[in-house]
Structures are given as structure tokens and as C-alpha cells.
Amino acid sequence: MYAKIDREVLQPKNLGELEEYIRTTQNALIWAGGTYIMSRPGFYPEKDARPIIYLGNIESFSEITKNIRTVDVGCMVNTNRLLDVGNLIFSKLLLDTLASTTSSIVRDQDTMGGAICTPGRRFSIPGTLILMNTDVDILKVEGKKHTISKMPLRRIYDNQGQLNLEPNCLITKLRIEFESSDFEMFKSVGAPMRKPKSTVICALRCNLSSGIISNMQLCLTFPLEGMYFAQELCNDLEGSQVPFSLKKVLEFSEKLEEGIIAKFPSVTPLQRERSIKIFQQALFSMKPKIEQN
């Protein structure tokens, strides 16, 4: 009975060891920052007896490299570090998203890999990264072979925003574009950890040259339900002139509401109301960009 509180923790120092551990251990739990896992009620002593593979000792997972168009971020880079380092180059949308975890103490322990792979919940970072056309490197270990494939972050989630990674796969790197848009907004309403059932997280960006909307992207995240990208609504907004009239704002709000109800019927009335209000606030804030000659 004493052995039940113990759990094997494997700490690979390089990719080779990591692949070996994945190959030889059955159904291991990949552990990045561990903040979400450890915050669950009844975490310790655990009922879950699966071995753990801790990624913190692999140096390449903690690297940040800047390229021409992207910043490559290892999965073990913590949110605070990325915020500090990317202060001058990332867009306001991404900086606001990273800072939305309201305490730097938590951000120090929270990793980028963990933030996008949280089981069963979506928080603020995945939605924004998807809007920024982020790609991820996925390491897959199959028998004696391993492959590293690159794919858009969006594809690791299903239609409902639930994580859809295959077994023996893990995300090793994120490639984040740092191009900004003319209009960007991030807003998180509620307390995602304390009250996920009433929380809404909104990330929105678009270009506004000559007062016309183009490349409109929207992501509404409901922590327990998933992410809503409102593709049809974004398409409808393409080519619209800003500023919007009240009538137009209400029209688009109605479409948004219908879309949310159709996609996530379990979203609470409060979450719906908050989503609409945030969206309206965004539409009202859009002004034509002043072209400089």
C-alpha cells in the first residue's frame, strides 16, 4: 500500500533519451510546467499511476530564436520569459494575451507547451496563437523511428477545440509570426481557473486600410467548451466600412449569437452575453487607419 503514492518520473536530458523513454514506457504523461496538472483536486496522492516524462532538462526545448518572420519558441519556455523577451517585437495582441495570466508568479511556472496542450480546457494562449498563424513542430515516436512534422497549430485541435494529438506525440516548438495587424484586441472576462463556466476570452485582429476591413480573424474561447472562430461572420465582415452604425453592430452581434448557440449549445447565457458585449465593444472601437504619405 505504500507504493501507491509513488510515481516514476523520468527526466531525459536530450531528444535521444526522450524518444527512448517514450518508446519504452506505456502511456506516459508528458509533463511540461505541470501547473494545470498539479492544480487539479486530488492531484496528490494521485490516483493516476502513469509514469511521467518531464521535459524541463532538455535544453533545446527552452530556446527562443528569432528568424525573419517568426520567433521559434521551445515548448518549455515559460510565459513570463516570452513576455519579457518579446516585449519589443511581438504584437500587442500576443503581449496582452501572455500578460493575461494576471500574476507573474504563475507565469514563471506556466510553459508555452503546457498552455496549448492543457487537457480538457482551453485558456487564452491557443486562440491568439492560432490567429497569428502559429505553426508547431510535433515529435512522433513510432517503434524505432521518430518523425518531426510541422503543422499549423489549429490542426492539433478538433472542431470543438479539444486537443487532438495522437499518442506518443508531443509538441517541441512553436513558430509564432510577429507581424501586427492594424486593429487588435484581446479581452478576458471572468476567472478561467476559478470560474471557467462564466469565462469568455476574446482575441480579434484585422487590417483597416482606407477604413475597409480585411483579413478579419476572431477567436472566442470558452474554457470548458472550446474555441469558436466565427469564420462565416468574419467573411461577412470582410470588406465592411468602419466606423460601424448601431444597426450594423446589432446585426453582426445577432449573427455571432446564433453562431455560438449553434456551435456550443452548452455555453451559459452569461458567457453568450459577455461574448456579444466584447464583440460589440470591438466593432465600436474600430476606426479607419490614418494613412501616412
Binding site: 446589432l250 452575453e273 459577455r274
Partner: protein, 621 residues
Amino acid sequence: MVPEIILPQLDDNFLVVTPQDIMGSNKINVLSDTRPLLASTKVNYIGEPILALFGPSLDRVKVLAREIMIKYHPLTTTQKPRILRFKKDLGNFEESIKEEGLIPFESTFKSKKLTSSRGKLIKVLVTVDGEFLNIECQTQWPQLIKNAVALSTGFNKRNIIIKKNHFYAPYDEYWIKPAHLACIAAVAAIKSGLPIEIICDSMTHKIETTVKKTTWYNAESQTVAEKVEVKVDQGAYPLFGEELCSQMLAGLVPEYPLKGFRCAIAIMPSHKAPANFFGDLGYSAAVAASEIHSSKLGIKLEQNPYSWRLGLDQNKSIRPQIIEWHNANNQRDRVQAMAQDCFYNRKNAACQIHINQKSKLSLISSYARGIGIASAPTICGFSSSNKDVKQQEFILSLPSKRKVICNSSFMPFDNSVEIWKDIISKKLKIKKEYISMEEDDTIIVDSGPSVLSAKNSKMPKIISAACDKIEKLMFEEDYPLTITASNADLHIQHLFSSNAWASIVVELQIDPVTLEPLIYHVWSYVIAGKIQDKPRFISRMKQVIITTLFEQGAKLAQNKFQIDIDVSYDEKEISDTVSSNLKGITIAAFSIALNQAMSCDITELPVNSDEIVAHIGEDIQ
């Protein structure tokens, strides 16, 4: 119904305590109320303890505890619950409602059950040392632990030594639970012969009250009679019923004049976790209900709540029959000063103009604002009619001319001891270094439970009365001298006595995006007695106001929130604490402001954003 408990295989390192293992009685007596230590065949609420498992370490115990299986089935028929009823009439209610042309006005307010989530752990350590049983814990009532442990284990009370640790209990977390845990740990310690430590969360619950007030007024808008019906839910094990009724009565009696007043309180047990004192025993909920009703009544009589209060003839109020209030004259001045400083009339008028506005919570015309006002005197300690609890006994001994020993189970850990020493030093002209507290646990007197701010407010007055008594003896008798003083020595004629009073104005707005009530500004004008540490008193007031607002579902407007506190001190006697009335009036002012902002009647608090959304009748045009 619990027919069967299946335990896993346990070795000698583990110990289980079930109701059958308790050598004495499987119950804990809290004055005249009783509750079981461990549920045997019937579980009355979810979370009621059934057994205790002890092991070499906490994590091993947690793992093994998962393997314990308890077979149970719900009881279909239960006994009719025993309802405690209380009724009090002031004036002549029956005659007064017979008056012709009276118009009734009714309002209801429900104070929902609150759970404190401060998350502290209560730790009790018990060791058997020969004939003695040593118990180390934080406790607000050491005598309860001694009585309970003696009853459950058969140990001699004199051989039970309590070592009290420091505690901070704004919600009276350390009142009953330490005694409960100490009994179980004592049984385990005696059974095993080993030191036993038992840990439990300190979660406490506030009572749930529903207050329905009906006031009859005449054609001249004068209030004539009032009837109050209260339902109280204290959970599975109600306690202190009569005292609760006295405390609630004090809060329910209104400020406006009445010829007749009737109050009927029903305490109904339920299958919820038992409620605790939670800082006060229903007074704040009663004050909140009264003040909300008073404001609504003022609005019904076509006045704003402030003008209505100002116009009341306090000489005809029936409240002094229950609360002896020492400083009535300054009240009106304080309310006027506060209303002027916060521009109450102007803001109230502005909020009223928008009250019928549609699309209140739209982003275009977001004027969901409200302002609320409330005031009440304070009470602390137990009522003068309470015969159950030891009325804060305090023994003062002078073994010699220059030495003083104080004996009370209310031993203060904080700077209150300095206040006590200060009083004794000044009264008896003895230096502070010669004043000490009794340390022998076997002879420490039971001063009752340290709840309802009894320690902070009443105790200094009782000590003062003790000093007066012993001063007379100093000239008449030889040393050593010993006297006992208690609440009875304060000669309170009424149910409660008060020398502190508070008023408050709360200004808020419903955020149109987050749909949360955001508090922008709070003003609180207070009349208090003599306060030793004035900055700490004001800091404590702020804490109470802010914590109460958060508990009721409010948020503070970021970077814009302001709180202004103004205290007028009367240096005649030591001040009563203002915590319980401050809580009540804060709830009332918040509720009134919220109703104005939402232009609807939200009758239950705390409120959350889901409920605000449900109340929105959007029709954006």
C-alpha cells in the same frame, strides 16, 4: 442510512475510529444543543463525518481512505423536523392594525447561505501523558473542548490540559470544530497510546435567512404597524436558537416610529452542513433586511431614502426598547454630513432619471448606476437575557498590594492584552509589569466562547467593572483579594447596549461588458467610543466593508475605487466593535444601489453575473 462500512486491510500502522470506538458518549454538547461526533446509522448532511482514519503520514492515509467503501441508501421518510419558534410583540400590534385606511407595504430579502473559503486548516494535537491528556490547538472556547473530551472519553476534566495557539477567526472558524476534532483525536490517542494529530479544513457556513416585512402606513404616510416573518436555516444542527432570535430581533426593529411591532422567527433544520456564528449570529442579515425595507418604504412614500431617514422622529422609535443607544443626538448630523459630502441627492436623482431607460446595459448608453444608503447601531456579545452561556466571567486577584493576576479563558494574544493591562493599571494604580495573566490551565475560568466580538468590546468593560469592585475591597479586606466580574456587572437594562453606530453610502455601476457590479465609491461615517489604536480601527473597518462587498458579488472598479471613512470618537467609554452592523449596512446599501442600477428587485444576495443576466430585459433600440 448507512448500513455498512467496508474497510481495506489495515496493518498496525493504521487506526480507525468509528462511533463504536468512542468510550464515552458519541456526542458533543454545545450548551443546550447536541450533535454527534461521528454519524452512526444516519447521516444528516453531505460531509458529515462517519469515521476517522489515522496513519503514519497524511499522504498514506489519503490513499488508503480511497479504498474505504460506505454503503448507504437515502431515507425516504424522515421525522418531522423540530422547528424552534420565537415571537415578540412591541407596543400593541393587534390594536394598531385595526386603524382605518392603512395601506400595507411588503418586501422580502433573502440572505443566502455563505461559505467561507479562507482555506485554513484546523490542527489538533493530542498526547496522553500518564494521567493527563494534553491538547494543543487553536480554539475560541477551551472549556467546550474540556467538556466534550471528558464526555466522549471519560477522562477527568481537571486532567485535560489545553495549550492554546494563536488564531485569527473572522468567521469564528475555531469555535466548535476544534472541540469536535479533539474528541476524535483523544479517542484515537487513548486507544493507540500514541500522539495523534488530526487535520481538517476550517470551512464555515453562514445561516440562510429569509425576512418578510410588512409595514402598514396611513394616508399621511406615517408608519403605524409592522410585522416581520423570518425563516432561518441553520443547517442540520441548529444551535443557540434563542440567542439568535434575540440578535435578529435587535436588527429587525426599525428606526421609524411604530405603534405596534410583531416579530416571528422560525428556525428550521435542514439537510445542509451546520451553520456557524460567522462573525455574528444573524444581526447583520437582520440589519440588512431592515435597511433595505426602510429604503424601499421611503421610495414607496415618494421620498428618497436619505430624506426619508432624515425626516424620521427618532424620539418615537421603538428601537431603544431593544438596544440601549447612548449617542442618539449625533446620528442625524453624521448622516447629513455624509450625504452632503457624497452629493447623495444629486446622484440619486440622476440614477432615478435613468431608471426607466431601456437598453440599460447596452454599450451605447450604459447608465446602469445606483447609489444606496444605510445606517444602524452596533451590538456585540450576547444579549442580557441569555442564561445559557457563561457571561464572560473574569477573575481579578491581588495576591499582594502590588501584584495583579487576571484569570480568563479569553486570553488575548494580540495587543488586546495591552488594553486590559492599561485599564487595570490606570484603575488600580499598579504598574503594568506587575500585571500578569493566569497560566495554570487547570484553574483558568471559563469566560464562554470568544465569539460575537465579546472579547474585544465587552471584556474591557467587564475588567473595568472588576477593577471598581476590587478597589472597594482594597480598603475593607486584607490581601489576597479575589473578585469575579461578568456581563451581569454591566447592568444592561435592555437586551443590548450600544455606543457605536455606522452609516454608509455605496455607489456602483453595472459594467456593460462583464455584467458585474463595480463599486466606485464608498463613504462610511461612524460614531465610536474610545479607541486605543485609531489607524488600526479604520483599517479594520475598510477590511470589513471590502470583504463584505466581495462576498455579496461585487467587484471594485479598478483604479477608480475610493473609500472614505470618517470617525467621530466619543472618549467616554471603550467603543463597541462596529463589524457586525457595518456588514449589515454594507449589504443593505449594496442591495439598494444594485436594485436602482438594475431597475428591478433583486431580493437575494449574494448575487452573481448569471443572475444579473437573467434579470436583464434587453430591448435595444
